[in-house]
């Protein structure tokens, strides 16, 4: 099942003993602190999980796929995620695809 903020808040209620309000706020703050850091242009390193880094991409030529008209894709800063070795090997050793697809 897909993990969302609501499930994470339930887990903080069950496992940390925060009340429902605190659990919901804590989940929101967790992601907000990471966003704030990235917004400041700084990377975030979460040991055992992975690193969020920023990449500055120069302007490059693009094309409207429908009309074929050339338009430049402007320079931009993007977030990239690099899973830790631990997370990568956990996934590799445990998950081998859904049996139904």
């Amino acid at each position: 099942m897909t993990l969302t903020k609501a499930e994470l808040a339930d887990l903080l209620f069950e496992k940390v003993g925060l009340n429902k309000r605190e659990a919901k706020d804590m989940v929101e703050s967790f992601f907000e602190e990471i966003r704030l850091q990235l917004e400041r242009g700084e990377s975030v390193k979460l040991s055992g999980f992975g690193n969020f880094q920023l990449r500055d991409k120069p302007q490059r030529p693009g094309r409207n796929p429908k009309t074929g008209v050339e338009i430049p894709i402007t320079a931009r800063r993007v977030v990239t995620f690099h899973p830790s070795q631990k997370l990568k090997s956990m996934v590799e050793t445990t998950y081998h695809g859904k049996s139904d697809n």
Partner: protein, 95 residues
């Protein structure tokens, strides 16, 4: 910012909680995110982004030392796609 910096920041936001609670909260969040991915499920955090697994098909690789050909098996790797809010805030930082 590291994992321990994040714990400190969260503890500061919630002075009514015990310091240990922030530490445990970060552990619970990251552990359940990792567990979700290892079972092949997705993570969707509105305003932040989504995590899913990408398939890597099997390929022929080469042992860089011996030059010997080896079969690299198919595998899944975690992938993150930034959400709209994160994408915009990073690209146009508030001054």
């Amino acid at each position: 910012m590291t994992r321990s910096d994040l714990i400190v920041k969260l503890a500061e936001r919630y002075p009514q909680l015990l310091g240990k609670d922030a530490e445990l909260a970060v552990k619970v969040i990251l552990d359940s995110m990792a567990t979700t991915l290892t079972s092949g499920d997705r993570i969707e955090i509105r305003g932040f982004g989504s995590f899913a697994l990408n398939y890597r098909p099997p390929r022929m690789g080469r042992n860089p030392k011996s030059g010997e050909k080896v079969q690299v098996p198919a595998k899944y790797v975690p992938h993150f796609k930034a959400g709209k809010e994160l994408r915009e805030r990073v690209d146009f930082p508030a001054v």
